[in-house]
């Protein structure tokens, strides 16, 4: 009896270690898909290059002409990397919104943060109104950023009120979406034809706006935010067991929520401010991660970031491949591709995830 018990004890530990190893392999697989996708992305465009050419250009091989090298490094690289960084940021932000609000429907898009950003941007595009009186060249982005952060903090403050349930937060998010969409429509109604075109294009979300400075800022935000989340991995995982349970484990629930929401609001708002509205990555990325790796944040967080990055990079590839010679705004493709993909995952995996 004692012997069989000791075998059971041993195997518990053994199974856990094996599962951890499997999760690390899944992370590696995500990373490989991401790298391959970025290489494909760099090869696609008005002029198409093979994977070999891209890799040689990246390695600085003398076999590759200067012109090809310039196209890949100077024109396509910021766009391809922006897809990676924006995907990672939106997906990680969505993952943590879902965690702290304990709600699988939370994402920058569904809670109205993207809609708020669009409205902020439209104010600048149509009326030239800047919320801050400086940094004129970034006025569109700064407006979008501040409006998105205001929406995120509003959601957070409301979620702290007594008696507010998970369902209330989603409803609140939906009201924000409608409110900001109505405001955006009003601005569009008042806009000149030229400004209207700019607003419509901006709200579609497009990576072609990527520049090295924008890429650097977004990367910096991601590089700072992810370790902040990771440091609180156990506490964040515990939040998904319910507020009382987390608190009973010794988690300072209010503090963890507030700090996380502050970081999340920047993480969700900056990409939207730079590249426009890109829906569904923030919702679908974390769900893919959750389904394949579970919700232990030590793995869930990197998996969410990687799946979001890979998803947006692959979407970028698709947006260049559908109509040869033209790039469809990526915001359109993420919804068209992301939704059926999520739907199929839910239907095949529903027992495990919900």
């Amino acid at each position: 009896m004692a012997h069989s018990a000791s075998i059971a004890v041993q195997s518990g530990r053994g199974v856990y270690r094996a599962l951890v190893f499997r999760k690390k392999l899944v992370l590696l697989a995500f990373a490989i898909v991401l790298v391959l996708s970025v290489i494909a992305d760099l090869g696609l465009g008005p002029a198409r290059y093979s994977m070999r050419e891209v890799v040689l250009a990246l390695a600085g091989s003398p076999e590759i002409s200067n012109q090809v090298s310039v196209v890949i490094w100077d024109i396509r690289m910021p766009v391809a990397l922006m897809a990676v960084v924006v995907g990672a940021a939106l997906s990680a932000a969505g993952a943590q919104m879902q965690t702290i609000l304990n709600n699988p429907l939370a994402s920058p898009f569904t809670l109205g943060i993207s809609a708020a950003a669009s409205f902020g941007a439209s104010l600048a595009l149509v009326f030239g109104v800047g919320i801050l009186p400086f940094a004129i060249e970034y006025v569109v982005s700064i407006n979008a950023l501040l409006m998105a952060m205001a929406a995120a903090l509003f959601i957070h403050l409301m979620s702290q009120k007594r008696g507010v349930t998970v369902e209330t937060i989603v409803l609140l998010g939906i009201t924000l979406v409608f409110t900001f969409n109505a405001l955006l429509a009003l601005v569009q109604f008042l806009a000149s034809e030229q400004a209207l075109a700019a607003v419509v294009f901006w709200t579609m979300g497009s990576l072609t706006r990527a520049t090295w400075p924008k890429l650097a800022i977004t990367t910096l935000i991601v590089v700072v935010a992810l370790p902040l989340f990771f440091r609180r991995a156990w506490a964040l995982t515990a939040l998904r067991l319910g507020e009382d349970k987390a608190a009973s484990f010794g988690v300072n629930v209010r503090r963890v929520r507030l700090e996380t929401m502050l970081v999340v609001s920047v993480l969700a708002a900056v990409p939207v401010a730079f590249v426009g509205t890109i829906g569904f990555v923030g919702l679908v990325g974390p769900h893919i991660a959750r389904m394949v790796i579970g919700e232990d944040q030590r793995f869930f967080l990197p998996a969410s970031a990687l799946s979001g990055a890979a998803m947006l990079s692959l979407t970028s590839v698709i947006s260049k491949s559908l109509i040869p010679g033209s790039i469809i705004p990526i915001g359109i493709i993420t919804a068209l591709v992301g939704v059926p993909f999520l739907f199929s995952l839910i239907m095949t995996n529903r027992r495990r995830a919900w």
């Binding site: 018990a5 518990g12 530990r13 009973s248 988690v251």
Partner: protein
């Protein structure tokens, strides 16, 4: 050192509504099991949350005779809230490990895994260790919650209705385990429970909470009387010694009001 827990004029307010007031207890010592009983909505869960430091309010919760801040008490008091279902994608094993790892260090040591295996073994739930939390029955969830408290080596254990979803065999088994843990590890156990027969079986002391105040506190057999059944639960009943070990509550029916 064996921990003691003592409440001095403890209360809880939600806004302006006072849900609990003036709760004062003798020193509850490690090694003892104290049952908190009372009708639904009497304030038992609020009391537990107050002791665990999740709610503020008047009065002192003292550990070893020293009134502690919520933060200090959190490290020594282990609270198991009432069972709620969760939809998180974690295995039982991960959730128990999670209960143990509440520090900044994301690394998991062999000692951590050993503690998880031990906690699961103590409750004989190794067979569901790698099941998802959302796949568990209510009873299994309660056992997992208990494992989450045991894995933290508690000195003071607050259990809010830990057996409400368990079948009779599991109830008897789990309460015996809790009683045994209290004795062997000298843990001060406070548990809310509705089944008075189980209270008579395992509790050394009983606190009765009704409408936000403590109406009685003392040894189980002295507190659970036909008068208590009538006053607090509005039922007629008697207490009979059913074996050499313990007494049993026999319920005759609701109190009949004579015109």
């Amino acid at each position: 050192m064996v921990a003691t827990l003592q409440l001095n004029d403890v209360g809880v307010r939600y806004g302006k509504v006072e849900v609990l007031s003036g709760i004062t207890t003798p020193a509850l010592k490690g090694g003892e099991v104290t049952a908190v009983i009372g009708p639904n909505a009497a304030g038992k869960s609020s009391l537990f949350r107050r002791i665990a430091g999740l709610l503020g309010g008047p009065g002192d919760v003292s550990i070893d005779g020293i009134p502690g801040s919520p933060k200090q008490s959190a490290s020594r008091i282990c609270y198991m809230p009432q069972d709620t279902s969760v939809n998180t994608v974690l295995t039982v094993y991960e959730s128990v490990l999670l209960a143990r790892k509440q520090g900044a260090d994301p690394r998991v040591s062999d000692a951590d895994l050993e503690a998880v295996d031990e906690a699961l073994g103590a409750l004989s739930i190794e067979s569901i260790a790698f099941k998802g939390l959302s796949e568990l029955s209510g009873g299994q969830r309660q056992l997992v919650s208990l494992a989450q408290t045991l894995v933290r080596d508690p000195e003071i254990l607050l259990l809010d209705e830990p057996t409400s979803a368990l079948d009779l065999h599991r109830q008897v088994e789990v309460l015996s385990l809790i009683q045994n843990l209290a004795r062997v590890r000298q843990i001060c156990v406070v548990l809310a429970i509705h089944d008075l027969n189980q209270v008579l079986r395992v509790a050394d002391r009983v606190m009765v909470i009704d409408a936000g105040t403590m109406v009685r506190c003392g040894p189980a057999e002295a507190v659970i009387t036909p008068d208590l059944l009538r006053e607090i639960y509005k039922v007629e009943g008697r207490i009979e010694r059913c074996s050499r070990l313990c007494c049993q509550v026999i319920i005759d029916g609701p109190v009949v009001h004579q015109a």
